[in-house]
Symmetry: C2
Subunit: 630 residues, 2 copies
């Protein structure tokens, strides 16, 4: 018997593009209780509904956009979009996340999740105004960049509407195409743009006028007040607020885990321009997502060089790296311009830069020449060439058509040993931390259900020494540490939280446990779901979500062999201090990790026992039936 | 004793950037009666207030933005911006006009005109909300393109605000820089962007909540109803509505007065792409200005080639020519992209394209080589090079720094006989009609107070055979015809009307006289100014405005010698049918024109008698005192 779910919008909207229907069902109480929301909802819905072997670019794939009971409330920073789908890049489960105002607006329109399925006959966009849902012709904006699409669709819906859209890259099924919001807070990774593109869906546009109803508003407000106080006293608040993730680029370079030149990791020429005092000169405006006082977004203005005139969101830490350190480009104007182009054409900044760096290394090694590159000289550090390649990737033009497939598939096309230089895990390009210099963090790259992602197991203990310092180079205990971080992140992402914000709050409390206790309380105050009160339950939800995602991939045929990192990471000693000489001890770390996960060590597959402990016996049953249980 | 001025906003706003003041004075009754508004106000205010010899880029120059009693009413198409200033390109009087929603918004805020003077110490923008006027810091948007500026300034003022702004080109004092509205309806010509740039003024942002009060609403509404009926039955309505000025590009090419290759006028290769059926495929949206049912603006989408992704206002007939026929570029994608870049960087599309065509001819003739062009090969028809040159002009980069000065000054820098290829009159680049193929129209190029403009004397008799056909190649009677057209345009521009709209209405009536009668009636119905009732009075106002503008230039030292057209136009026979063999008989046409104008034939200076007949005896007095009267 379902109790009333306070603070949830109460409905899940299902859009079937093939049959041109929009249906609404009540958000099931059990779904809410067991998976909280956001990433949790996505994992469960994809497990339930996606047939194994489904073509990621076929009508059978689904895109779940889901939100949390805290989305759209006054709780700080819980207003992110979580987008879950089967990835055309990795072939497995994917969760991608972005910010802005879209999530809160969907909640205001009355939905905890939107499930998009099927395939429209012709270019379409969805216009949601509260209870009204229309599928509209998008032929006129098909092919257009994000800025043009946003302008056109706002004009014909509502000037205050919010939207999630794709650029030309998504339409062209570029496997590293992203989803983009009207304010460029992109759910970037995993090829979500290509999934919408394959469905002929240009955008989801939404306007909502409802507001969440809280279970215990007084208690809730107290907890928000506490949160604001903790944010303010947090040592990370000012750094995020003043310069966003740009504040750490130079620091992380000096800490030695920041990769350069496609993970060759020689010293980066001209790295001094990464210093905060250089970067901050470009900032003209601080911008934030809905309901977040951190305002980590910085708008940059370019006034010099061929790219002068631009004002756009600055490249985040990872994009700074992908368009900077790993391509060797230290021309800040070119980096910012590349970032803007990627946003407007709808390409994942991380994978785009990483793929360009991969191509630059192939060019350096003579594996590709100007014959294959449409005459471009792909030299390290050439920002203009990088800018040109982004456009080519997005439009699948010449060499761009090869690189649009991501490093692994591009390497297959190119041959001649190119695959050795594809720096990826599960075909997702590795981001801006070298696994050799941060072992638990690297272990998460290897074991992440979505491939080489920095978000799934961003190891604050190793990277920031926070809430307590852990030696990043040590191997001992890293299985447990990685599990803990992965589960915590899965838990707070099921609550729709922002990873930056969680960092700020945890730094304020100097304790992860306190953060989770607070999270349990506020989820309870919002929803009235008794289970949420106990933070141990949230840890369990995190582990449940993580295992369910894993099971999704197992059902697709993933085993231990997919938990992999490139030869360079495993065998080539890291050249820079302080990680000099380090390699990544993959097998040892995996054994440890699987053991603490309670998974079969040989295959990396969750055991029945573990799944049952997590309330996932139906998952064990299905895997067993498919002969895929350990 | 001033009667109440109905339908006028009632105030003139004066912004002194040097002293950081904003003052409001009542709109003088005599000014309204004698000059109606818009272009008329600008001519009078500049005559009264600008000292001869004032530096166009000095604080002593003024920018008058003025509107009409019909602006912001339900009368169709009277909602244009008229911007008057001393031009940094021509050194003389200038009037530039654009559309959009800015003019109506200023009227709603309560102003018939805004006079901008002085020079701000640092980058500034003006924020007007009804009676409240603020001068605000614009450092954060200084250097930014128009799209970024619009986004930033709307965010910090009002999402529904309207604005007139400049791009990087205006800031860099590019002499062909334009003013741009938030919706890209640019007052393009004459370097208005550089005037604001020289004043450190990035934008005028406005939001208004008032509405004009009509003298006789019933009569007024009847006249608007009549106007709508005439529009609808007009043979030009559908052409303007369906494809805007793009509908005539191919037609005008075939009529033979459409210049090619910097007025060399050989047949244009690949001209078939100018056909309406090709162009209309690019249109994704019809857009219009405030209060205009014609909606002549077309948004184009590009889906092919390196510029794919763009949606932007299509290139108008003139821009189509400047980025197309005169540069020989028939790559429509490059033309549309060039047009967008010019809008976003804030460069006049006509002068930019014409200056690039000039450079291409210099390159063809070997007068400039790759040494002077930063390695670019300026070959006719190369759209990619054209696109690159626009950016360079706007940013004053390399060869762009030379071309940013316009053809005449660029020719002075380049030397080696380059001036022969500068196709201009009074240093304003000639637009998309060849004077040899339309003599009265060409005579207006030569005699226009703002230099080689198509708008000042757009000769519908010659170009469209409308309202009656006149042989465009004939010389006889063209002085009178040109005078009539110039005066009529000055009259309806004093009323703030749009030239396209006047064409539609006149085609509907099949009579210019009927149009002017209707205009007199509606001005009277709106304002209650008795004089306006009589259309003869409006013709007089037109001539008054025209003579006052002329007097402004005379005061600056202009005489008959400035009423000039290039040697190529005067001496080289036109090569294409039907104007084959024609040259432009400048002296003969000038003699005729001055005679019918009642000006001194030798000097082209208005006589005292003529000025007195027009109520401009104070002008005659001042010119006489300066020793400049004929």
């Amino acid at each position: 018997m379902a109790s009333k779910l306070h603070s949830y919008a109460g409905k899940i909207l299902r859009i079937d593009l093939t049959h041109k229907t929009a249906t609404k069902v009540d958000t099931p109480y059990e779904l809410a209780r067991d998976f909280v929301g956001a990433r949790g909802f996505g994992a469960k819905i994809l497990w339930d509904e996606l047939k194994p072997g489904a073509d990621p670019l076929g009508p059978e794939n689904k895109m779940v956009l889901s939100f949390s009971p805290l989305t759209g409330t006054s709780a700080q920073s819980f207003h992110k979009i979580y987008a879950m789908f089967k990835s055309p890049l990795t072939g497995g489960y994917f969760r991608s996340t972005g910010g802005g105002f879209f999530a809160a607006e969907v909640k205001f329109a009355g939905y905890d999740a939107i499930v998009i399925e099927g395939r429209a006959e012709k270019p379409t966009y969805v216009w949601i105004y509260d209870n009204t849902v229309e599928l509209r012709d998008a032929s006129h904006v098909w092919g257009s960049t994000v800025d043009a699409t946003v302008e056109m669709l706002k004009e014909e819906t509502d000037r205050d509407a919010r939207m999630l859209t794709i650029g030309p890259a998504g339409e062209r099924l570029v496997r590293i195409a992203c989803l983009v919001t009207d304010d460029y807070r992109t759910p970037g990774r995993g090829g979500g743009g290509a999934v919408l593109g394959s469905k002929n869906l240009k955008a989801v546009v939404v306007r909502g006028t409802k507001r969440p109803e809280l279970f215990n508003p007084e208690f809730f407000n107290e907890l928000v007040k506490e949160q604001v106080e903790v944010y303010k006293k947090s040592p990370l608040f000012e750094a995020f607020h003043s310069l966003g993730t740009n504040s750490i680029v130079y620091q992380f370079y000096t800490l030695g885990h920041h990769p350069t030149y496609n993970f060759k990791n020689t010293e980066l020429e001209n790295v001094e321009v990464w210093r905060p005092e250089v970067l901050e000169k470009y900032v003209v405006k601080h911008v934030g997502c809905f309901g977040c006082m951190i305002k980590c977004g910085k708008r940059w203005k370019l006034t010099k060089g061929p790219y002068a005139g631009l004002i756009h969101d600055f490249p985040e830490y990872e994009s700074h790296w992908s368009f900077g350190s790993t391509t060797g480009v230290t021309n800040l104007e070119a980096i910012a311009y590349a970032n803007m182009l990627a946003d407007k054409y709808g390409v994942d900044t991380i994978s785009a830069g990483a793929t360009i760096a991969f191509a630059m290394e192939l060019y350096e090694k003579g594996i590709i020449t100007e014959k294959e590159t449409d005459g471009l000289r792909l030299r390290w550090g050439d920002g203009d060439v990088m800018v040109e390649l982004i456009r080519k990737i997005a439009l699948r033009e010449g060499i761009g058509n090869v690189l649009a497939e991501g490093t692994v598939r591009a390497a297959e096309v190119i041959g001649r040993g190119a695959e050795k230089f594809a720096m990826h895990s599960k075909r997702l390009e590795l981001p801006a931390y070298d696994p050799r210099a941060a072992k638990a963090h690297g272990l998460s790259y290897a074991t992440s259900n979505i491939g080489g992602s920095h978000m799934i197991g961003w190891n604050k203990y190793e990277i920031l020494g926070m809430p307590e310092r852990v030696d990043p180079l040590a191997v001992e205990g890293k299985g447990l540490l990685n599990k803990k971080v992965q589960d915590q992140i899965a838990a707070f992402e099921a609550a729709g939280w922002c990873a930056f914000a969680e960092l700020v709050q945890t730094a304020g409390y100097e304790s992860v446990e306190k953060t989770m206790e607070w999270l349990g309380k506020i989820l309870y105050a919002a929803t009235g779901v008794e289970e949420f009160k106990d933070s141990n339950y949230l840890w369990l939800v995190g582990e449940r979500v993580y295992n369910l995602e894993r099971a999704f991939n197992v059902r697709e045929g993933f085993t231990r062999k997919e938990d992999w990192l490139p030869e360079r990471i495993q065998k080539v000693p890291f050249p820079r201090t302080p990680a000099k000489g380090q390699v990544f001890e993959l097998d040892k770390l995996l054994d440890d990790y699987y053991t603490v996960r309670g998974w079969d060590v040989k295959t990396g597959i969750p055991t029945r026992k573990r799944l049952e402990d997590l309330g996932l016996s139906y998952v064990a049953d299905e895997l067993q039936e498919a002969g895929k249980l350990a």
